[in-house]
């Protein structure tokens, strides 16, 4: 202590404090209070306590799942595949968000990890158009094991109503207004064009993997477990044509035939695209998009927006 300075003293009991009390907290040896005389002293513990409060789960509130340190509350089921289920969930805490959780048996963990890697790779592409098209691909949040299940957490897309298969569940005889098939297919062909240019193929474009945004006439693709780099893009194009045939023909166990109400130019295009893989390969997604535009013009005239009600098409 330099001359002129008195020893620090405890503000509670007046007892003498060690000089460290001038810059940090100390325990008063008399009254045991934790004190500091430094008015600018800040302890991390206060911030950690806030973090703990923020991450304390509220009582009740249904089923919870912890994935990579984050708590998710399951809200409701969205769909079911052969081995997995999709659930809408909400992540708890300051980083609150809506997520779609893909839940599968534990032995599917590697497959989900592979799907997560694929999606991260696709989200990381920086080619022209990536800012737009990356919004139409699932955004992976985390994957791992939780509650004795393999889990892949994806960010939920607001406004997406359900899959094309859900549309068919409400419309078992198929989409009545064929004009809707034009924008549905066009959206997927645009996305496939971008992906194929980057060397990627989806390879599983069944109707369950087409997510529909009725208000914006948008389609996003899910189910990326079979996606690979360097495969034959014609398979994607052919699958997309078959999915459209299913959309128009409705549900059934047999391969969907082209319905009578499908106008001639579109019917011809769907027939060829679904059955002639070599032709799909030669046209590519961009060529098929051009063919679709020409067929739509021939069958329906200039394009115009037709509101889409997925429950009653």
């Amino acid at each position: 202590m330099t001359p002129g300075h008195t020893s620090p003293s405890c503000p509670q009991c007046g007892g003498s404090l060690p000089r460290q009390a001038l810059w940090r907290t100390v325990n008063c040896s008399y009254c045991k209070a934790v004190v500091t005389l430094n008015t600018r002293w800040v302890e991390r513990a206060d911030f950690h306590a806030a973090w703990t409060r923020a991450h304390t789960r509220p009582a009740g509130g249904g089923e919870w799942l912890t994935l990579r340190g984050a708590s998710y509350r399951l809200l409701e089921p969205l769909g079911r595949g052969e081995r997995s289920e999709a659930w809408l969930a909400e992540r708890h805490g300051p980083a609150r968000l809506r997520a779609v959780l893909k839940l599968a048996p534990v032995d599917a963990h590697d497959a989900l990890a592979c799907e997560a890697d694929t999606l991260r790779h696709l989200q990381g592409l920086t080619a022209a158009g990536s800012a737009y098209f990356s919004l139409r691909l699932p955004q992976p949040l985390a994957h791992g094991l939780a509650n004795d299940q393999a889990v892949l957490a994806l960010r939920a897309w607001p406004g997406f109503w359900g899959s094309l298969a859900d549309v068919l569940a409400f419309n078992p005889t198929g989409i009545a207004d064929v004009r809707h098939a034009v924008w549905l297919w066009r959206r997927v062909l645009e996305l496939l064009g971008y992906l194929h240019d980057q060397g990627w193929c989806h390879r599983d474009l069944r109707p369950e993997h087409w997510l529909i945004h009725p208000a914006d006439h948008g389609v996003n693709l899910v189910g990326w477990g079979r996606a690979v780099e360097g495969a034959d893009p014609a398979v994607d194009l052919q699958q997309s044509a078959w999915a459209m045939r299913a959309a128009l023909a409705g549900r059934g166990d047999a391969a969907p035939a082209l319905p009578a109400h499908c106008p001639p130019a579109l019917a011809q295009l769907l027939q060829r695209a679904s059955e002639d893989r070599d032709w799909c390969r030669s046209e590519g997604a961009d060529g098929l998009t051009r063919q679709l535009s020409a067929a739509a013009l021939a069958d329906f005239g200039p394009p115009r927006f037709v509101p889409f009600n997925p429950r009653q098409t």
Binding site: W23, T25, R40, W41, V42, E43, R44, D46, F47, H48, A50, W51, R53, A54, H55, L75, E76, P77, L78, G79, R80, G81, E82, L88, E90, G93, P94, A95, R96, L97, R98, G124, T126, A131, Y132, L141, R155, A156, P158, G159, F160, W161, G162, A165, D166, A169, D204, R206, P207, E208, V235, Q239, W242, R251, G252, D253, A254, A255, P256, R311
Partner: protein, 325 residues
């Protein structure tokens, strides 16, 4: 602080006077303004008063590094009256606005600047234009956003929270990653606070989130690539990916309106934005940016026709399997 009344006409006139000025003339500081230096800062206060019995603290923490200079310029030369006008249209009674500027504490001269909560056009504008747009950034891919969370948690005091348990708002703009922790050395140098150890950014955010609704606004879709994932880990659906930095004010005002329940849904937000003269194209862009957060405010589902317990049937894909395996 926060005395006086806001006048939209006065604010518009203020901006009209400087319409012909360059950004350098509007933002004339060439170093941190002494009154915006956080050194020795005790508390920034947003207080109720006779004029403003329901003060609501709103903080803009603007990234002023090189790539992000557009937003403060747009605010100062065009958009801020629209923000206040939209808040008025949403019947938000007594907004008090504080501006902060954020840079990179590892390389910039003024990585943290902080104004005061204000209610009048002239004073709100004053603190904004006193900000020093250093235009730095260290090239590390990170900026010192975490310091802003720390400062809000530790050095602001708002009556909306203390008296009414209504949280204020933070709108942080940026296109880079935050540093992983609040550095005790940087806090000592910049503010004079003595931390016992570094504070992980998650904890600084949790502390700030107790008093503020926190939002991170990414200026456009291209720039979301480099930083969105990390911010989404930290702030979830409170990360707003805009389609243009020009939308900042409209997005921020609509976020306040939606969160306060003054805008019932996105349709109401679109009507309010159109009512302020925003073009149809920009209204659509703002609504798209807001949609994930707006969904978060709804108690129910995203729109699927299912209810809890009503599990859908497994898909019938026999023909698909025959065709494609």
């Amino acid at each position: 602080m926060g005395h006086g009344n806001y006048s939209h006409a006065a604010h518009a006139a203020l901006l009209a006077d400087r319409a012909s000025l360059s950004a350098n003339e509007v933002f004339s500081q060439r170093g941190c303004h002494p009154l915006m230096s956080p050194r020795g800062l005790s508390m920034r206060e947003s207080r109720d008063s006779a004029d403003h019995p329901n003060a609501l603290g709103i903080v803009f923490a603007l990234d002023v590094t090189g790539s992000m200079g557009d937003i403060p310029r747009n605010l100062a030369q065009r958009d801020l009256p629209q923000f206040m006008g939209l808040l008025g249209a949403c019947a938000i009674p007594d907004p008090q606005v504080l501006f902060m500027a954020i840079g990179d504490a590892t390389s910039d001269d003024a990585p943290l600047q902080v104004g005061q909560f204000e209610s009048t056009a002239a004073l709100i504008d004053q603190w904004l234009t006193w900000s020093y747009l250093e235009g730095g950034g260290g090239g590390s891919g990170s900026e010192s956003y975490e310091l802003a969370f720390y400062l809000l948690a530790q050095h602001t005091d708002m009556d909306c929270w203390v008296k009414r348990k209504r949280r204020g708002y933070l709108f942080m703009t940026g296109d880079e990653l935050p540093y992983p922790a609040v550095s005790r050395h940087q806090v000592d140098t910049l503010l004079g606070d003595k931390l016992d150890e570094d504070i992980p950014i998650e904890e600084a955010i949790a502390a700030a989130a107790e008093q503020y609704h926190l939002f991170f606004l990414i200026p456009d879709l291209k720039r979301r690539k480099g930083c969105e994932d990390r911010w989404r880990d930290l702030l979830g659906d409170h990360v707003i990916c805009m389609e243009s930095p020009d939308d900042t004010c409209h997005v921020a005002a609509a976020l306040v309106g939606l969160t306060e329940g003054r805008l019932a849904d996105l349709d109401a937000a679109a009507r309010a934005l159109s009512g302020q003269g925003l073009s149809r194209e920009r209204v659509s862009a703002v609504v798209r940016a807001l949609r994930p957060y707006a969904e978060l405010l709804k108690p129910g589902a995203v729109g699927l026709p299912l209810r809890p317990g009503a599990r859908p049937a497994a898909p019938a894909t026999s023909w698909w399997k025959r065709l494609f395996g």
